[in-house]
Structure formats: structure tokens, C-alpha cells
Symmetry: C3
Subunit: 370 residues, 3 copies
């Protein structure tokens, strides 16, 4: 990236950008959902399962904290966030990474007139990872570009920028889908409904793109006309093996769904004058709908929710959104381990544990199970 | 708790609530001063002393940090707080617990319209303890109830809610009283003045209730008529062995006091129109009063203070309020160890240390002393 | 300090203050640039280099984190700050010190009417270091005085107070100068330009004073008439061996400079009505100026910058300001180690490493190099 000027960089194709953001065929900066290919997703799925298994014991937790205690992360969150912020923060804590926050520009040097670029270089002076959420579109790419042109490059992780990309959310969504279908043939040949505000929901945009890596997916994009998924994603899906159906009859599709991914109206990104619309009753899931679902249907939601998802559903075994939320922590920990090239070390640790358990006590085979 | 609906739960007697909040006869959620019986207070007093003793060496500190490093705590403080917040935070640090904060709703997902219940479930996704202060009365109970009805229950610790309860403050007050009377026969047969705004001071309410566990206590409740302790606590005290005297002649009682617990006017809870009143000169302690006190009288204050407690007193050996403040950190560390069932482990460590010291060097008997 | 009242204390000479703030001839409280003598600066320079060298390996990082893990620091920042705050925080993390922040008075007990003194004593109840930045001049001295008169004294570190002192900034500036001249005869017989707002820039004030410890320094103070360095510092420089030149012809002096220290207009301290002035074009450095500099000239800036320093310079090898920024973290870690009297322990560790490396593998001589 060092040799490029910014205007060149932003005009590159996604493919070219991915090649510049990756190192050794895996994400270094993690900015775009397109950086994750199937092989990476498979590795990440396995590693996430291993981390969860290791963390079940105190000793395992201490081992995980010993992987990256010499690293420090900046959580630079210039937009309100609870989940993404906390899950990245706790992911760091799991790996022993020490964190600092900048969440409020009124207590930082920006009030003295510092440029965004200088703020980011400053972070790179003290930290080994920059995890950032920012309202400005493309600012995470800009950060990666600035640091690549400095003499202290550190990985930049996009934790949501503008209404465009939220790549780590897509990772945890894919993880949750695969986990939910573990006993149902895995994530292939499944029918998945994405419902609600598909126009501005950056999580559904990233997720839809990621589903192109799996075979036999039927994707039902269900939204009111004015909240339709934008054509860039539709076109991409149509070029892939995914079967796409656009429909405004959400309830009619419930019986065939293996997974239903609900979203709320993203009115905080509202610049197009939809402001009055805070909920979409026809694209909501209530307790009464449960009887129309398959027995194994996974109900998901990136949260926070409003009334598109009735809390009365929470205790139904098909409600996966609280687990999905917690999976964010595990998936992000796994991602950071991979960026830091510590994944083999952790997998070796786990294999050694399993070997010992098998050797000394055949009676505990469950320990092998992820 | 799982089988109860919320309206049932809040209408239960305190006794029944306590049984639901405790596990194995000790607090799991820690919400009400009534959860602490005498036996628990005795265990906590001993454990707090042991923690303080262990922490005197670097090695001891490292040992304490090794007790709960695999645990994470959320400090959810929706009301201004320095002391309670910092003492909980440092208590966590002493035990190796990693912390995160939510102190400002403008940077969290509540601005996207999330319900309190969902916020709390989110915390339980990432954390092993939820420590919370909130202006809304009963919100900590609600939190415990929500989590008990989820599939990831974690302990909720009430760090002050509404004007009602502040149970951990009462713990550190009792600890400070016992510690102050260690060479004066312990906390029994003592005369204790609670002075100032007894109507709205949640610390004095909790403390008064806790004193019913000790024998021979004479309690002088000294306040202006309009700031009198509410009848619910008076009734409870009268049913116990505590001798209660209500008086608006604060200064007259000074000579007989073994402890004087000062409070400030709680005008931040002001909904009854007392707003003009910021101090109560007749319920203040000045340097001139010192000559009227016994030699061992413990002067206490939950802090922050205004002018009811003259800083000129600070260097008098009877002023215990700065130690009381620091005891908050130790007491809360002890409480969290007990909630996590790690108390026996720590006591064993300490006994082993004492055994070794006695064995290898009879010359160092002070190490046994707490 | 215990025996003095506050009015006496503030009227003491700087020399007398230094003797009260130091313990065993080294800073205990760290408030004034005058506390650092040449011998201390030499020790700190060496220790900073050692810490940087040790931190190059994961094992070295873990060793550093084992030096002060039993200590806790309060970062009390009542003025906006990114760099100073983050570098102190990461310095603590390097040494294993656990941190807490108070950066926003609206979430602390000050809203309940607590005095500054009580807030500081409260911090000393829970923490082993108090690192503070405050708009009020002299408040850090006041803090040290309050704690010296309490029964729990902890070191106070001034991270910038009023427009007067910023001692740790001067430490990292001196470190950066020495480091820059390591292959050019060290920091003696050098010509150094301080440029810009010398009136209100507290960093240049502290730095100028510190340069009196080095021989043969020629100091060019280059500013517009109305932003001239105040006479107190000029007088002090004139009594020393430093040759002082005051000049408003910044550009003319560039060819003779070994180091150029740029500063921005400090309009956040604006009380004298300069408000309209946000930049000083004649005291700016642009890419066009580079050709007039020596090959080894060190370009420095305390950051944040505005347009007095052209970002186009950033990639020139003479631009040292990003390293200078990072040196803040290392210098502050070294300072805290010295305050805690852990410097010998760290130097011994390093000597042992070097001994082992020399013994077992003559092939790795670079390890000895700092």
C-alpha cells in the first residue's frame, strides 16, 4: 500500500484492495467482508470453537491470556455502541491484550484542532491494534492507508463505519449460523430470510455477501419496497450460486426458513427522510409466529432490537440472538489471534490437551468435543 | 426465582426475597442489607482482615490477583459516583478481575432505543459480575430477576439504587466499626449516633438495620424533625434488641458516643422540596466538639462531605472516615470472593503462610496478626 | 512537608520546594522540571533505553509487567488530552500497573459538592500513584501538600497544570534530543531553535530550563514579539552556560540548527485576547524548508500540530516528532520505575540478559546494543 496515493487507493477494485489489506493470504487490516474467503471462514470457525472450549476452565483462561499480554489495543469508538465495543473489549481481555478507549472527542486532542490522520498516527505510537467505529464512511480505510505510509504500521479493525461495512458482525453471524446447523448438515442448502431494513442495515449487507461462500443457499430478502437491499449486493448475489428472492410478504415465508435474521429500522443513519418510521409491524416476529417455524429454525438479530422481535420469544430454544451476541466476543478473539498469527500456537495447545486427556483418561471423551 | 413472574416477585416478603437471592445460605445476587446475617458478617470481617494482611507484600498481591483472573466485571454506573465506583473497581483489580464500564448512556446502545432489560442481558453475555448503581428504585432487583430468567445468570451487586438500599456501604461501615472497637471489646454494648439527614440517607438506613445483629447497641438517631428516619426502619429496630433514641439535640449526646456517624443532606434525591437546605449546622461536627468526645470515639462519614464535618478534624486519631473509605475496597473484595466461593481458598493460603512463618522463624510473630 | 502550612509552602524558593518534593535525591512527587538534575537525567536516559530494549521480546514485556503489578494508578485528567493521557496509561500497562480514570467531573462526586482536597485524598485511599492534569495552576502542588499531611501519602505526578509546568514532557524532549544526537556527539555544543508561541507553551518553558544541564548549548528563541518567552525563563538561561538568542527571523536560523522544536499557538490558554490568531505562518516549517536544514537536524514538535508543521515533512528522516511522541511512553515508564525505586532491579535484569547472551552466543552482539 506504501506506494499508492490515497486517490489511487480508493479507486481500486475491491479485489485489489483486499490484496493490499491482507498479508500472507489472511486479513492484516480487517476492513471489508470481502477479505474473508471460505478457507479463512473455516479456520476461524474451528479456532472460535477451540477458544470457547479452552475457556471453560480457569487454567484455559490463563493460557489464553498468555497469548497476547505484550500487546495493547485502542478502542476508538466515535459512535454509540454497547455490544461491538464490549465484545471487542472482552475479546481483548480474553487474550490478555491491554486496552484503552477513546470514545468522547471532547476529552481528546481533537478539540485542539488535530486532524484525524494525526490522531490515528498517535494511536499507532502507543498501540498494537486499532479497533475503530466512526460515522464517517471510508475512515477505517483511510486509517489503514495512513498507517501503511508511516514507519509504525499496526492493524486497523473496522468495527462499523458509516452505513457501509461491519465486517466482524458478519463473522459472528456466519459463526452463529454454522453453529446452529451443526447437527442439521451445516450451513449449506439452507433457506435464510433477511428481514426488515435491508437498505441501511450494514450487517445484512455484509452477511449477504458472505453467504456466497456457501453452497445451495436460498436467500429471501424480505423488506418493504422502500427499504430494499441496494442493487450492488443483489448483483453480487446473482452472480454467485445463491438463489435470491425479494419479497414483501415476510410472514408467508416463515414455514420454509431454516434461519430468520431480523433487523430494526436503522434510523440513526437517516438522511433520506424516513424519520417518522420507527418500526415495521409486517416485518416483526411475535410469539404467535413461533408455531409456523420449523423445529430447528434459528432466530437471529444483531441487536439492539425494538419491537420487530417480541421479548416473549427469548426463552424459545430457537431464539439464538443472545448466543449470537456472545459469539461476537469469541469470534473477535479468534480474529485477533489470526491477525497476530497466534492461531497455530493455540491449536497446538488444544491438541496437546486433548492428547493428554485421551491418554490418561479414556473416560472423558467429551473434552475433545467442541 | 425462575418460576416467578415479576409482579409476584416484588410483592414477596423481604425474607422470601432473601431466600431467592441467596445460594447456599450466602448472597449470590447482593441487593439487600437483609441478606447479611451475623454469621455472614463474621466471616466477612475475618476474610477482609486476611485480604488486607495478604496484600501487604507484593507476593501476596500477586496471589490475590490469581484468585479470579478468569472473571470479568461490568461496572454499570448510571449515577455520579467516585468512591463506590473506584472502590469496586480497585476491589476487582485486587482479585485480578478484569473490568469494563458503562457510565454514560450517550455512548451506549440505549440511544438506539434499547430496553433496560436487554442492556442487562447484554452485560450478562460478556461479564461474570454486574455491579450497578442506578437512579431508578428497584432496578437492581429487576436485573437479578431478568438474569435468573435467562440462560446465563450472573451475580448482580447493588452499588446503590434510588434512595432505598446501598448494602455494600453498610458492610464497610460495620467492618469499620468492628475494626475501631477491636481493642475496646468489639461491636457490642456500644452507643452509636447517626446524625444528619436520616430520611434520605440510604447508608444510614442500611447500617441501622445491620446493627440489629449485634448485642447491647444503643442507637441515637439525631436529626431535625423533617429529616427523621422513616418508620419502616424504626419499627424494625424496635422489634430488635437495639435501644433506639430519637433526638434533635445532637451535641448533647456527644459525650456518651462510642461512634458518631455523620451524614450530609442528600439533596440529589430531593423530590420533596427541601432544596434550599444544603447544610444542617446543628448536626455538624467541628474541632471544638472534639474535647467532648471519649478518647476512643470513632468518627465516621460515608463521604462525600460538605460542612457537617470540619476538615480540621481530619488529623485527629478518632477520625476514621478516610480508613472507612479505604475499607470499602477491602470489604468489597472480600464480598466478591465470597460470592465466587473462593473464600476458603484464600483462608487456606493465609493459614499456610502463617504456618510457614511460625515454623521457620518464631521471630516474626507479627505476621500472624491481622 | 508535613510540618508546613500551605501558605508557607507556596512561598518557598524553588530549591526548597525541590528538596521537599524529592526523597533520597530523586523525585518522589514529580511536579517541577527543576527536580531533574543532570545525574537524574543521565540515569533516566539509560533506563529508558534499557526498557525499550527489554520490551522488544514478549518475555521482556512480561518481565516489565512483573515489576509493579501490585500497584494501582489514578489518571485524573480534568483537561482534554490524548497523548499525555495515553502515554501515561500505556506506560502503566508496560509496568503492570493497573489504572483507573477520572476524566469527566459530571460522573464523579464533585457534583455532590466535594472539595478538590477531599477528591485527592479519596484517590490516595485506593491508588499508589496519582497522575493529574488540571486547568488550575498549582493544583498538583496542592495535591502533594494535602497528601503529605495525610496518613496515606502517595506520589503525585504533574501531567500538565495551567500554563506553567509540564515536567514529564520536558523529560521526553530531552530524551529525544539525546537519542537523535547519539551518533553526533550527544547533546552538547548544539544549536537548538524553539519556535512559535513561546509565551504560553509550557513544554518549551520546561525544556529551556532543562537545557541548562548541558554544555555548549546555543538556544535560539524564535517567536513574534507578542509571543516571546517570559523573562523568568530568560533570566534563568542567562545565568547558565546556555547562549540565548531571541529572534523573530525564524527561517534565517534554519541552516545552523541541529534541532528545531516547533510549537502551535496555545489558544486554549487564551486569556489575553489573542483569540483571533490560530497560526503563525512565519514560524512554520514546510517541505520547501527541508533543503535548508543540515543532514542530521532533528525536527521536533510536542503535538498536536496545526499548520505550523507541514504533514508533507512526516516521511523525511529528520522528522522525529512521531518518535518523540512514542518516547513519551518509554520516558514515563522509566520515571515511574525510578519513583518506585525499581530501577536497579530492571538494570540488573538487563545486565543478566546481556551476560547470558554474550556467554552462550557471541553471534548475537546486537542484543547488547540499546
Amino acid at each position: 500500500m506504501k506506494t499508492h496515493n490515497w486517490n489511487d487507493f480508493i479507486s481500486f477494485s475491491t479485489e485489489k484492495k483486499v490484496s493490499l489489506l491482507n498479508r500472507n493470504d489472511r486479513p492484516y487490516h480487517c476492513l471489508l467482508a470481502q477479505q474473508f474467503d471460505r478457507s479463512f471462514l473455516d479456520s476461524l470457525y474451528h479456532l472460535t470453537n477451540v477458544i470457547r472450549a479452552i475457556s471453560k476452565s480457569k487454567q484455559g483462561n490463563l493460557y489464553l491470556q498468555s497469548t497476547l499480554p505484550h500487546k495493547k489495543a485502542m478502542l476508538y469508538f466515535m459512535q454509540p455502541s454497547t455490544r461491538t465495543y464490549l465484545s471487542f473489549r472482552t475479546a481483548c481481555q480474553i487474550l490478555g491484550i491491554q486496552t484503552s478507549d477513546v470514545r468522547d472527542s471532547s476529552i481528546s486532542s481533537e478539540v485542539k484542532g488535530e486532524s484525524n490522520e494525526d490522531t490515528l498516527r498517535t494511536f499507532s505510537s502507543y498501540f498494537d491494534f486499532i479497533i475503530m467505529r466512526h460515522p464517517e464512511e471510508g475512515i477505517a480505510e483511510r486509517a489503514a492507508w495512513v498507517l501503511e505510509n508511516s514507519d509504525r504500521t499496526v492493524p486497523v479493525l473496522n468495527a462499523g463505519s458509516g452505513k457501509d461495512q461491519h465486517p466482524t458482525q458478519a463473522l459472528l453471524d456466519i459463526y452463529t449460523l454454522r453453529r446452529s446447523f451443526e447437527n442439521f448438515g451445516g450451513l449449506k442448502d439452507k433457506t435464510i430470510i433477511l428481514a426488515g431494513d435491508l437498505l441501511r442495515g450494514r450487517t445484512v449487507r455484509s452477511l449477504a455477501q458472505m453467504l456466497t461462500h456457501f453452497d445451495g443457499i436460498k436467500l429471501i430478502l424480505s423488506s418493504p419496497e422502500k427499504f430494499k437491499m441496494r442493487n450492488d449486493v443483489i448483483d453480487l448475489l446473482k452472480m454467485s450460486s445463491v438463489e435470491v428472492i425479494e419479497s414483501d410478504k415476510f410472514k408467508e415465508h416463515l414455514p420454509e426458513a431454516d434461519a430468520i435474521y431480523m433487523t430494526r429500522v436503522q434510523d440513526e443513519h437517516d438522511t433520506e427522510g424516513f424519520k417518522s418510521e420507527r418500526s415495521l409491524p409486517d416485518f416483526s416476529l411475535t410469539e404467535a409466529d413461533l408455531k409456523n417455524l420449523k423445529e430447528h429454525t434459528a432466530i437471529m438479530h444483531p441487536l439492539p432490537r425494538r419491537n420487530e422481535l417480541d421479548p416473549a420469544i427469548d426463552n424459545d430454544p430457537r431464539a439464538k440472538y443472545w448466543r449470537q451476541e456472545r459469539n461476537g466476543m469469541w469470534s473477535r478473539a479468534a480474529l485477533m489471534l489470526m491477525i497476530a498469527n497466534k492461531d497455530s500456537e493455540v491449536l497446538n495447545y488444544w491438541n496437546e490437551i486433548c492428547r493428554q486427556v485421551n491418554h490418561t483418561a479414556k473416560a472423558l471423551p467429551r473434552k475433545r468435543q467442541l
